[in-house]
Symmetry: C2
Subunit: 269 residues, 2 copies
């Protein structure tokens, strides 16, 4: 039974591709069969990350874990209606080819596209990374400018609710587990962190998501992108970056804690 | 002679809307006639920022500077060809209505849209904010995974070059001044900052942009979004946030330095 994990957040730069790569590698290292689908076919950050990983392995003559990565092409037909049909078929075909996998991790673009909506509708788990910022928060819910009170759900919450409704109407059993993970948390900025924390706790009950502790803003989550590596690949004698800082240790705990929070099926991940 | 400033970067979350709001308020406060166009008609971060500002002013009974803000609607026609035509007309009409302004600041979405390309082609200045991250860098240029050397321009550089070419072919005098500004610079992460700095200096000569020092990662750049305020609006006795930290002082210098770097026309801005 393939479990679909979607990294979704219409807000750009919230950390979807970064979280996707680290979840993929964490699950692969726990011995699971993992596939990844990059739906951001223009920027292709996740595909580029894995491409860099391939080239690095080739040039160093080493072996690393890799996900299966089928392509889902966006349609270039002129009629948007016809394009949506073609993309629905491409997406379904890709998912079917992955029926033997334990997990399929789908990275969505920071935009409202038809493929992104399809992914959300097929998700068993949606992971939504979020900068600790009211600019990012604005895509989950509106705040009253005078009182700061939560004034109602916003665009991206509505997208997740539409996916939940679609799944229910299609008669698929079980709801979508929606996990919001705070990302790029600052070591300082205490008041803003507290404010965001309060608003997110308030919102989680109202619009139905679980709140994951998330990741700090750590250079180790991004400095290895050009080599296609993650923190989880380091530790060997010829690692390009010395795993010696508090930040690295804490980052490992953050990744493990995120996977545990996702309560994924199968043996303890 | 209206000077068009475009905030462009296809990479999501690089800081376009944040930079747009602060440039708009800085220019308004220097006494210029400023208009703003939000081309991210789905997320509307800049429009929301100004909406919050309006509501805040109304609820507190105060006066703040505001840009003119005409709407440019994306087309909902089914044929992409026809949609592009409609958007080209809407965009041209909006720009014409702003002929009396000193500056038009255009905030682009973190995606490759027809409206975004139109804005780039009409720009006198393009400001490209960039996270200090090789994941963001990847949209400007590719790096060789084995050697780290710059391997060639990437998607967003190609978009700016296409805009420059289009402007030249249209016979518009003067080139586009392209300024890349580092954003969300960390107070720590010294090695990564140095690496990014070197690669950007190298690239600036190759692909023709000027490098602005940019903004640090400071909570003051985002915590005022719900009230529609910026650091530049604070300082009065009833300011909601006390302007007392080193970070605030440095942020003011960063904003002033950015505007100076843009070398905009007219009296000293
Ligand atoms: N925890 C983190 N620590 C440090 N940097 C991070 C972290 N998470 C993300 N980043 C950086 O923030 C930027 C945005 O992250 P990322 O590209 O993963 O977001 P995204 O949601 O996939 O963006 P898009 O909407 O463009 O697809 C990148 O430069 C990335 O390297
Ligand atoms: N200098 C800064 N200091 C602190 N936070 C910042 C800074 N610049 C941007 N941010 C935050 O980073 C996130 C992304 O910024 P912003 O929304 O301005 O980027 P964008 O390029 O407009 O994104 P999109 O592609 O989604 O339109 C927001 O949460 C914003 O508050
Ligand atoms: Mg991404
Ligand atoms: Mg924006």
């Amino acid at each position: 039974m393939t479990h679909v994990i979607v990294l979704g957040n219409e807000k750009g730069g919230s950390g979807k591709s970064t979280a996707a790569m680290h979840v993929v590698v964490a699950l692969l290292k726990s011995g699971r069969k993992v596939a990844a689908i990059d739906l951001d076919m223009r920027q292709r950050s996740l595909s580029r990350y894995v491409e860099n990983r391939r080239k690095y392995c080739e040039s160093k003559g080493i072996d690393l874990v890799f996900p299966l990565m089928p392509e889902v092409r966006p349609s270039s037909l002129d009629s948007r209606e016809a394009a949506r049909q073609e993309e629905t078929e491409n997406f379904a075909a890709a998912l079917q080819s992955l029926a033997g996998c334990d997990f399929v991790v789908i990275d969505c673009p920071g935009a409202d596209t038809h493929l992104s909506r399809l992914a959300h509708a097929h998700a068993d788990t949606i992971v939504t990374p979020l900068n600790d910022s009211f600019v990012d928060f604005d895509l989950l819910a509106r705040l009253d400018p005078a009182t700061g009170a939560v004034a109602g759900p916003s665009l991206y919450s509505e997208m997740v609710w539409a996916a939940r409704k679609r799944r229910a109407l299609a008669g698929v059993p079980g709801g979508i587990d929606w996990v919001v993970m705070r990302n790029r948390l600052s070591a300082t900025q205490a008041r803003n962190k507290r404010e965001m924390g309060k608003k997110l706790e308030d919102l989680s009950a109202r619009i139905g998501f679980r709140l994951a502790r998330g990741f700090g803003d750590r250079v180790i989550y991004r400095e290895l992108f050009p080599m296609g590596l993650t923190l989880l690949d380091l530790g060997g004698p010829d690692a390009p970056v010395r795993l010696s800082t508090m930040s690295h240790v804490t980052a490992r705990l953050e990744i493990r804690s995120l996977v545990a929070t996702l309560k994924l099926p199968g043996r303890e991940t």
